[in-house]
């Protein structure tokens, strides 16, 4: 069996006590300050806008990043945050709403 099949039964890490004890504002500040201090290559490209108790870190891109670059950028960021702050952190971007004006008549909003 190849190495990437050995995790079928493995639990996904969740944030530890130190992260959970922080307020939402403290979590967000910690993420942004850590990135600013140690991951300078992405400072001008993105900013964290929300950091949640369950470890979700929501990021906003400050400039367009092509499809062939943004995956690597954000997976690198996530790996960095897991190593620097807590293995339970997970990075997502702010969601986009539907651009179909017809379907938007339904009034359904994509939740973040």
């Amino acid at each position: 069996m190849s190495s990437n099949l050995c995790y079928a039964n493995t639990e996904t890490p969740t944030p530890g006590q130190a992260w959970c004890q922080l307020s939402d504002n403290e979590k967000l500040a910690l993420v942004n300050s850590t990135v600013t201090a140690k991951m300078t290559c992405v400072n001008k490209t993105l900013v964290a806008v929300e950091a949640k108790l369950d470890g979700q870190v929501i990021v906003r891109l400050l400039e367009p990043v092509n499809a062939d670059k943004r995956g690597t950028l954000l997976l690198d960021l996530e790996a960095f945050l897991k190593e620097s702050i807590d293995p339970g952190l997970v990075v997502w971007l702010e969601p986009f709403g539907d651009r179909s004006s017809l379907r938007n008549l339904r009034g359904i909003e994509v939740k973040s």
Binding site: M1, S2, S3, N4, L5, Y7, A8, N9, T10, E11, T12, P13, L61, P64, V65, N66, A67, D68, R70, G71, T72, L74, L75, E78, K82, V90, V91, W92, L93, E94, P95, F96, G97, D98, R99, S100, L102, R103, L105, R106, I108, E109, V110, K111, S112
Partner: protein, 379 residues
């Protein structure tokens, strides 16, 4: 694996997977090789003239919508053939019949020996277009939200007074059914209802419409939702529809089989797998040109899993890139939890259940020896 449904033209598997017919890929995957997908689900555009209340495409907007030119589409097929992709389904997140590339894409796939299936609302699938593609298609599945014109127009368009969309779709479906008979074509024709729990009164009329049209099957499936519950689907409510669904199935006749996707309805929002192996076998591509492992990840929210755009670089280079395999390996790693980090019941659901059971040693995927079902290249 659930039993196939016997139709007049062969065994049809809609509520399970067909990995047992692709054990060469399963073995290679298990050995850690970088495998080509067996199948790709994609669209040639993000555009659609309908506004279905159940449409997952509402949650699949990425950063940009690239226009897919005919040359992009044909190059894509050449790359599929070069790496060994065996089928393409034109479903995904747009109405492919609206694209200029639609007819040439299907004709070129046939030349290359790649099987093609297509899901459509059939509104713009007019006789001239049908004549050009039907003999090259393995299956066509028409999205028919309800069997009654007013309900159909309410669910798929602006309101019950717009029954012209129903009439148009039915006219085109009938044309295809007649053409199939006239030319003795092997294409399988079916209609599909995406069942939201509040649509229980539409179940029997939908089944009856399938019989009246004389299509090969009428299938009723669950509705997918994202992990934020944007569509508000309550999967517990499906249980109360059980008797009606059984009644619908019992209406099957010699020509038309009424099929319920029981496994997906039962699995609901609680998949058995945490790792998401399915995309390595069944890849999805957006009508925006975006290549991501699954349609569940098309939205900008999941940008960390965006791999590239085939209108900007050749697909074969995307597939060979470290980006592609980093995304696939992420989904197979403990960092990803399919139970909490993506929407419900993706197109790769059956495949992912089977691969997970295989990896865990619960049930190995073995080569099939019995009757070969139809459409084996569509997982």
């Amino acid at each position: 694996m659930s039993a196939a449904v016997q139709t007049r033209e062969g065994a049809l598997i809609l509520d399970s997977h067909k990995l047992s017919y692709h054990t060469d890929r399963v073995d290679a995957w298990e050995a850690g090789e970088r495998i080509a997908p067996v199948s790709v689900d994609m669209s040639l555009t993000r555009a659609c003239g309908a506004m279905c209340s159940f449409c997952y495409a509402m949650m699949q907007e990425s950063q940009a919508r690239s226009s897919i030119k005919i040359s992009n589409a044909l190059n894509l097929l050449d790359d599929f053939a070069a790496i060994g992709i065996r089928s393409v389904s034109l479903v995904s997140d747009g109405e492919s019949t609206l694209s200029n590339a639609y007819v040439p894409f299907i004709q070129h796939a046939a030349e290359l020996g790649i099987d093609v299936g297509n899901a459509t609302n059939a509104w713009e699938w007019e006789p001239e277009k049908i004549e050009q593609v039907l003999s090259h298609l393995t299956w066509v599945r028409f999205t028919v939200a309800a069997g009654r014109p007013e309900s159909y127009a309410s669910i798929m368009y602006k309101g019950p007074e717009h029954t012209e969309v129903f009439d148009r779709a039915i006219k085109h479906i009938k044309y295809a059914v007649d053409l199939k008979k006239r030319n003795n074509l092997s294409v399988t024709l079916g209609i599909q209802m995406v069942l939201m729990p509040n649509l229980k009164d539409e179940i029997i009329p939908f089944a009856q419409l399938g019989l009246d049209l004389g299509v090969d099957y009428a299938v009723i499936k669950h509705c997918s939702d994202d992990e934020q519950h944007t569509l508000g689907i309550d999967y517990n409510q499906y249980e109360s529809l059980h008797d009606l669904l059984v009644q619908a199935e019992s209406m099957s006749n010699e020509q038309t089989k009424i099929i319920v996707k029981w496994n997906k309805i039962k699995d609901g929002d609680k998949p058995s797998y945490k790792r998401f192996y399915g995309p390595q076998f069944l890849l999805q591509i957006s009508g925006s040109g975006l290549v991501a492992p699954s349609g569940m990840f098309f939205n900008a929210r999941y940008s960390k899993l965006h791999i590239g755009n085939f209108t900007e670089e050749r697909f074969i280079d995307i597939w060979k890139s470290e980006r592609y395999w980093r995304a696939m390996n992420y989904l197979a790693s403990p960092a990803f939890d399919a139970q909490t980090m993506m929407g419900t019941l993706p197109i790769q659901h059956y495949v992912s259940v089977a691969l997970d059971n295989h990896a865990k040693g619960i049930q190995r995927i073995l080569p099939c020896t019995g009757q070969r079902p139809m459409h084996v290249n569509f997982l």
